[in-house]
Structures are given as structure tokens and as C-alpha cells.
Subunit: 216 residues, 2 copies
């Protein structure tokens, strides 16, 4: 009823991240009903990005040039390197725009379940970079089993080769707006273990509770 | 940071039905990281469906041939026509596979908010079909404001021209598995108004409650 080619398109779309058979059918119909405004521009974009975008040989980011725009930047702090799993992680950090060092993209995480080993990650290029000029590394990996395995591997097998480099990993704790009551036990434990001393100086500009009560 | 072409692709994807900026970014990265297995097959499929699929001149379904496979079928009941808004509705009905008549796709619904008028729908071809051989019409439109407006228009302006045709519309009521407590008022009212007399003959093959109690 649907036809071979359209069925093929729907099957391909349904395997996209976040999509299923239902959304794939909707998108296929959307494409076929908006040929000049959506389908043809999509074809042109796909052709363009396929031809233009290449992986950066330094950090493994995707860009039209090699080294990529991030690696070519002169305004970033060349002594600090942030290790992430994938390009989406770079985008997330760049959207938050507080980190001003360089990135290194591992191209995935070590995963027993997906059969992904250290050899499958961009470790050699990481070692090359760590051996020159880097004084601080921030490991920014997912707080998952695979993220932890990868962090463990880096701590055991990679960072000991560069004892002068200061290494840190992202803090674990309450997400912004997180409520204790609905928090999972692991996060609650991490938040408790990682508790910070409250420095009264941090609050010196704010009204104290007693002042607030007086003012009422 | 993302580059013009990739940004364009993400923006286009983010307007797809059911997608947003987040899922569009994920899909764009998925495409670029799986070029031979996903991006290139996708380009080939898009090219193919764009070239091959045309609207059926009879029922306005999308198919590689005109008239479409559904209209060319000899096994369907040629006296019954089901009127739907779009191709996705045909797919939904065909998946359920209980209706064996032919379809007519209006190509949308009358909508004040979207400025869609009867002239924008496939009404002329519908009239041509109703004037020959059709004895029953089932209107299968969404239970929404636009669906109701379109049904109203058909009842007022189209069906009176063919007084010999029996017209019906989909029943309104409890969805399968629906719980009274969580049902909206309008559905509850429709279900109440459309209540059916319970025919004991329907249950003659099942064990009555008293028999069931005795058997325990």
C-alpha cells in the first residue's frame, strides 16, 4: 500500500535517534507534501554537509576546515583541555559558554554492552596533545556506567603518563531545581559526599534572615 | 561554531513534525556520523520518492502510479467511499484493515485559524465520484474543531446534492481502555448521548454472572 521506496524511507527515518515508526511516517508525509519548501532544501543541505564537513585532525570536531574553528581560535586558553565523548557535548558546553579552553572529542565512551574498547576512541591524538603545553584537563563525561568506565580508564592508563597535569572531573550533585524528595539515591549520595563548606562571605551582599525579619 | 550549512540543516530539521532544536541537533550529528549507512541512503530515498511519487488523480493518495494501487484494486467495494483528511488517515485505517471500500482524501480540513477554505480541499473530485455508483459514504475526520467544521460543510453543501447516498460519521465515545474518571467532559457527553442499548443476545455465548458464581 505504501510502496517500496516510501517504505524504505520510513524505515530509515524510524531508526533516527528519538524517532519511531509513527513519527517516521509523519515526517515522510511532511516531506512528500512540502517538496519545494522542505524536501528539496533538505536534499541540498545533506549534499552540502556531506561534501563539506570533515573531522578535525586535532580535536575530532566536525567542521568545514581542518583544524576546526575551535582549534584555530587564538583567544582560547591553550593550557586547558576539556575531554568530552561526542560533538553534541561540545555544543552543550559552548551553549553554556563558560569554558574557554580547547576540547578533545573521544568519539564515544568505553562500553562493554556496545563492545566499544579504548582502541575505538581518539586516545592516541589525546596523548599527543597532553604531551605538549597542557597543564589542566577537565573530564566532562556522562554520569553513566559507560562514562564512569571511560573516566576510570583515563585515570588508570592515560593520565599517569602526564603527572604534571592537573585533572578534574565534573561535580556530581543536585541538578538546578532538583528536589531532594524526588532525587535518586545515587545522586543524593554524591551530593552528600561532595558537600561544600558554606562560606558566609559568599552571602555577604545578601540580606541575612534576621535583617529580613526585622524589615518586614 | 556550527557552520552555516550544518546550522541550516538543523533549522530545517527542527521544523519537522514532532522535532525541536534538541532532536534536530541529535539527528544532524547522527547523519554526519553515519554517512555511508544513513546519510547517503537517505539522500537516495529522498531523490527516489521525489521523482516517483505523485498524487492519484482519483482519490489524491500518493503512489508511484496514477490511479493509485488502492483505486486500481478490483477487490474493494466500489459502492462505499470513506472521506478522510490526509494520507496518514488512510494508513491508519488500512493498518486496522477492516474497511474494504475506496477512499477520498480531502487534503486537509477547513480551518479558520489556518485560513483553509473549502476551495483548498479536493471537493470537486469528490463531487465527481459521488455522482456515479456510490451508495454509502463514511466521513472519517478528526474529532477536532476543524474536523467538525469540515463535516458541517460537507453535510450542508455537498451531501444534499446526492440525496440517495447514505452518509455516516465516526462514532464518538470512550476510547478502548478509557477510564471514565480521567475522560474529558466532551467525550463523556458524546459517549452518554451515543449510548447503545445492551442486547442480551450479544452475550448469549458467555457465562452469566450467576452461572459464574455457581461454578466457583
Amino acid at each position: 500500500m505504501v510502496g517500496e521506496k516510501l517504505r524504505g524511507l520510513i524505515q530509515l527515518l524510524s531508526k533516527f535517534p528519538g524517532l519511531g515508526p509513527r513519527s517516521a511516517r509523519r515526517i515522510a508525509l511532511y516531506l512528500l507534501s512540502h517538496r519545494s519548501k522542505v524536501l528539496k532544501p533538505l536534499m541540498a543541505y545533506l549534499d552540502d554537509v556531506n561534501l563539506r564537513y570533515k573531522y578535525c585532525s586535532v580535536c575530532h570536531y566536525l567542521d568545514e576546515e581542518d583544524p576546526c574553528g575551535l582549534c584555530r581560535s587564538k583567544t582560547r586558553d591553550s593550557t586547558t583541555l576539556c575531554i568530552v565523548a561526542c560533538i553534541g557535548d561540545v555544543w552543550a558546553l559552548e551553549r553554556a559558554s563558560f569554558f574557554k579552553g580547547y576540547y578533545h572529542i573521544l568519539g564515544g565512551l568505553i562500553s562493554l554492552s556496545h563492545g566499544k574498547n579504548p582502541e575505538d576512541l581518539n586516545i592516541e591524538t589525546l596523548k599527543n596533545r597532553l604531551s605538549i603545553g597542557i597543564s589542566e584537563v577537565v573530564v566532562a563525561l556522562d554520569s553513566t556506567l559507560d562514562g564512569q568506565s571511560t573516566l576510570h580508564y583515563l585515570i588508570q592508563d592515560v593520565f599517569p603518563l602526564y603527572p604534571h597535569i592537573k585533572v578534574s572531573s565534573l561535580a556530581r550533585g543536585l541538578p538546578m531545581g532538583g528536589e531532594l524528595e524526588s532525587l535518586d539515591q545515587a545522586t543524593l549520595m554524591s551530593a552528600f559526599w561532595g558537600r561544600r563548606e558554606v562560606n558566609s562571605a559568599l552571602f555577604s551582599n545578601t540580606t541575612s534572615w534576621s535583617d529580613f525579619e526585622k524589615g518586614k
